[in-house]
């Protein structure tokens, strides 16, 4: 037994079903949406109302699923791991379906029925009409060239903006309350003075339909549960089903009054958000221990619930998250985010709105759930502030020891400072946290979209080649001059900055086109109900209706680009070991015939990650250049552009489009991930890595990602766990944003690689999330083995 509670047979069975169900594509959603769009009613409606009615149609017609022993109901597809598709966003061709079914990693079963449905109905209707077609058709040639060269990616190419987290408000309200709020707002509309009044009226109509839709969906479940109860012979289960039916009659129409109601309430909301569109990254309940606490305490006080029952309910919710893999991705999107994880991230601990420590009884119970469940989803993290008590930090570290990389550790105080810098109120900042991998947000009040990864090493490579990309044979960037004319590092940095500015502007222009398409064609009236102040503003979430609107570009390859600049400065300018022409020739030939030079670049040149100012200053300079190019620039929907530093699996893709680099890296090898050093370059131990990582100003970002590897033996004693706690606290006292640990030893990983079938359940930390080792690409498996081998402890 882990933790304080015994896992129940029910949870064990539900978990087994969830783990053993194979990921497969369900045609249900695609068919219902296509039916609605092609019915003839659709063309007469404004965009928000159209989307709301499509949503209603979907929830009215989709199949219901009541799993054996389930206490919380609702599935996006017809059953666990049957994954919906979103043809209005992007359309899978017959070839795509073949690839999805046959690729070795992150595959999906596609049955003949789905293939037939696609070729007969879905493809004929949507071909050329998806939002992906729209976006790609509107982008400039320059944008396409940069995209093809791998300078940046586009998140909304196959998915929708989302990446959003609910606040405490939504746990205190029902959808009938929201409908009241909408009607009051409607009455306040001023057609005499407000030129957007009509748009708002349409938005309100749409929002009310969305309210009705989710209440109707819950009612359908209530009746189905009653029916199931009537046919159930087992008396205990019959009682459960009746109770669940009663809950579905109450929520989400009304505010939840018990913890069980609150979990069902949230789950209906979750299913609603991920059915309406396919938001990247999914959706999150955010500060779960905070939101549930009042109801939990009330239940306990009234004798309605024991701690063990609360634990079981939470386990049931965990299974629900795990039943929902990310919808299938293809092409570049699959490369940049090759995983089933849909990035729900549970936040625990942190600060209360008044700035006190927020750790409570439920925080510890949820840690027990995390330790026991060990599922791919949901991801989990703890927020550590200067006020967080030691036992909580140590308990979280104890769980990390079990090796699946959760929870990860976040700095609440840094999150608050980051949000304050962006102009959020202190209360909204303290209610915030991190979602997705490491991204900072004001929960319940902010639409903070991720827009795409940004390949910093690639831009330096283009700088070295006067804007020309050797791989694609295209002139991708501006001609900033032949690099052989440059003989000081400052001049090189200036030219590099010019290129960064060019590509940042290109990406930001593209972002505005994307925002335009979602604003005009794909509003999300349901999601808009959940985020303040979309109702008050009468404006959709996808149109800037939220209180705060941010669009992030995620920088990738900081360690690699830093080592590239360091190497040029050290070997070409300061010590004149090589000339430009020698260096460029070596890179062009991928170091073939230049092995000794490659050796010197790797082993005899300063590297980032060793608390060495010579190298680290280039991290801070590159970061600043990137920050200046992006931060503060306004977006189409009235938001602000920001940066953060995280890779998902994009560092592998970005490495694959990059030639050999001046740090001795071979062509096609992955670049560094997050703000971590290049794999194997850090030889001075973890404190030196942290010092280097702090050479950039984390508070200017919306999140940074730092990976640390430790051998399992380091978690063996309470004393050394205490020292790890101190390591985290020190990093956080200096404004580090996030740190995560991989604690699987190299031998285990090598065995898993040789015999994947025996290690189907092995979960490892990748980059801001955990994943099945067997689903990682060969490159990534190799990288993680190297990461864990380089321990130095």
């Amino acid at each position: 037994m882990r933790g304080r509670f015994e896992i129940t047979g029910r949870v064990r069975r539900l978990r087994e079903v969830s783990q053993q169900s194979l990921e497969r594509i369900s045609g249900e959603r695609a068919e219902l949406i296509t039916d609605f769009y092609s019915s003839g009613n659709a063309s007469l409606l404004s965009a928000p109302v159209l989307r709301a009615k499509a949503f209603y149609h979907l929830l009215a017609k989709k199949r219901l699923y009541i799993g054996d022993g389930e206490l919380i109901v609702g599935e996006r597809g017809p059953e666990p791991k049957a994954v919906s598709t979103y043809p209005e966003l992007s359309l899978h061709s017959p070839d795509d379906l073949d690839i999805l079914a046959s690729r070795p990693k992150v595959s999906f079963e596609v049955d003949d029925e789905v293939r037939r449905l696609y070729s007969e109905k879905i493809i004929p209707y949507w071909s050329g009409k998806t939002n992906r077609d729209r976006i790609m058709g509107l982008m400039s040639d320059e944008w396409h060239n940069a995209y093809r060269a791998g300078v940046f990616t586009e998140f909304q190419e196959q998915r929708a903006p989302g990446h959003t987290v609910i606040g405490a408000n939504m746990f205190r309200k029902g959808f009938l309350n929201l409908k009241d709020e909408i009607e009051q707002a409607e009455r306040r509309l001023d057609f005499g003075n407000d030129e957007a009044a009509f748009d708002k009226l349409e938005q309100y109509s749409a929002m009310k339909i969305a309210c009705d839709a989710i209440v109707m969906y819950a009612e359908r479940y209530a009746y189905a549960l009653e029916e199931a109860a009537n046919g159930c012979r087992d008396k205990k289960r019959r009682e459960e089903l009746r109770k669940m039916a009663a809950i579905c009659h109450r929520v989400p129409a009304h505010a939840p009054e018990t913890m069980h109601e609150a979990l069902q309430h949230y789950w209906f909301i979750h299913v609603g958000v991920i059915s309406e569109l396919n938001p990247w990254d999914s959706f999150s309940p955010g500060r779960l221990d905070q939101h549930l606490l009042p109801l939990f305490l009330n239940d306990i006080e009234k004798g309605l619930l024991t701690e063990a029952e609360a634990y079981e309910l939470l386990c049931c919710l965990w299974v629900k998250f795990n039943n929902h893999p990310a919808p299938p991705k293809i092409g570049v999107t699959a490369s940049e985010s090759s995983t089933y994880t849909d990035f729900t991230l549970i936040n625990l601990g942190g600060l209360t709105p008044d700035g006190d420590d927020a750790v409570n009884r439920l925080s510890y119970i949820i840690l027990d759930v995390i330790e026991e469940m060990r599922l791919l989803q949901p991801g989990s993290m703890v927020q550590i502030s200067s006020r967080t008590p030691k036992p909580f930090l140590h308990r979280a570290l104890e769980i990390v020891k079990s090796g699946f990389g959760q929870p990860s550790f976040f700095n609440s105080d840094a999150i608050v400072k980051e949000l304050l810098r962006q102009g959020k109120s202190i209360t909204d900042a303290r209610n915030g946290g991190a979602s997705g991998c490491v991204e900072t947000g004001a929960f319940g009040a902010e639409a903070y979209w991720l827009t795409g990864y940004f390949n910093l090493p690639k831009i330096l490579e283009l700088t070295l080649n006067n804007g020309f990309d050797r791989r694609t044979g295209m002139q991708v960037g501006p001609e900033t001059g032949r690099v052989s004319q440059i003989n000081s590092i400052d001049d090189l940095l200036a030219v590099f900055a010019e290129q960064v500015n060019y590509f940042a502007s290109l990406k930001l222009s593209g972002n505005n086109i994307v925002e335009g398409t979602f604003s005009a064609f794909l509003p999300v009236p349901f999601l808009s109900l959940l985020i303040d102040d979309c109702i008050v503003n009468g404006t959709d979430y996808n149109r800037g209706g939220a209180r705060y609107n941010s669009s992030y570009i995620q920088g990738v390859g900081l360690g690699t680009v830093t080592d590239m600049l360091t190497s040029i400065c050290y070997n070409l300018f300061d010590n004149k070991h090589y000339t430009w022409s020698e260096m460029l020739e070596a890179l062009e030939s991928d170091f073939s015939g230049f092995e000794e030079m490659q050796y010197n670049l790797i082993y005899n040149t300063p590297r980032y990650g060793n608390d060495n100012f010579y190298a680290d200053r280039f991290a801070s300079k590159t970061f600043r250049t990137f920050f200046d190019a992006v931060d503060g620039r306004k977006t189409l929907r009235g938001g602000t552009s920001r940066i953060n530093m995280l890779p998902t699996t994009c560092h592998v893709y970005f490495g694959s489009v990059l030639g050999a680099t001046p740090d001795g890296r071979r062509e096609g090898a992955p670049v560094s991930e997050g703000i971590s050093p290049v794999q194997g370059a850090d030889i001075e131990g973890p404190t030196a890595v942290l010092r280097s990582a702090l050479s950039i100003d984390h508070l200017l970002t919306g999140g940074t990602l730092l990976n640390q590897k430790f051998s399992p033996s380091f978690f063996a004693s309470e004393e050394s766990i205490g020292k790890l706690g101190d390591l985290i606290r020190t990093y956080f006292s200096m404004d580090g944003h996030h740190i995560q640990f991989n604690v699987v030893d190299g031998d285990t990983l090598r065995r898993a690689r040789a015999n994947p079938e025996q290690y189907r359940d092995l979960i490892v930390r990748v980059a801001g999330y955990s994943d099945y080792f067997r689903d990682l690409s060969d490159d990534l498996q190799e990288e993680i083995i190297r990461r864990t081998e380089h321990e130095g402890l």
């Binding site: 092995e595 490659q598 608390d611 131990g685 020292k723 101190d726 006292s733």
Partner: protein, 284 residues
Amino acid sequence: MVIYQLAMLKGLYIIIFVFLLLTMRGLLFDIKRFTTEDGPGIRVTYFFKGCPMSCIWCHNPEGIGQESMKVNRVERVGSARFTKSEVVGREYDIEELVDVAARERPFIEQSGGGVTFSGGEPLMQSEFLKRTLIRMREEGYHTAVDTSGFAEREHFMLIMPHTSLFLYDIKHIDDARHREFTGVTSKRVLENFDFLVEGGADIVVRIPVIPGFNDDEESMKAVRDFLGDRMCDRIKGIDLLPYHRTGSGKYSLSGREYLMEGKKPIADSQIDAYRSLFSAILLK
């Protein structure tokens, strides 16, 4: 006139003293940050080069000789191999050592850590060690000295006032066996231990458990009895350090013969049995 001359002389002394302090250098073969097994909290450990013992299991064989030496390190890049000539051991002045600790200071302060002087045998450079300890104390660091115990009594007297904690190795009580495996007598080690205990120094005893040397109940009981007679609140702990093989790769680098080839690490259960021998005498 006399007073003037005296004053001149005093000034000269001060100048000479400062000069010595600034130019005094010690020979180290490694500095490690984030060490967690060399005293309380997170620490920086300084490895002094030179050791009077030559334990056959030594896991820092490159730290034994008193001069810096050249070694060849082979690195691979793809299938190509490159040999790099490296010097093990370099001279540092005290401020360089302080600078490393300064980079680690936030971690040290958060964890209640400090700095540790290890080796080799740090007392072989006792004057440099003493001045470094004084300087580190000035900076506010907790200081630990990891010693084999085989050193001149006077050298211990020099550093005792500036040392917060001794990590003191006791390898074997039996003199003949000690000589056979470490090359020196155990007598001096045990006498110095008594000297430190009587002098009121804080001590953590460290016992390496080495197969074929002291990996038997009799040897362990002898150590236990020796310590049991001297137990007091100054003895802060007794740590057993199971033999591990990390040293073997370094032997080829340092050109020494590795005599432990084929020796297996001791089972955890055996170590636990030895530990329980000692837990009985430890003061709570």
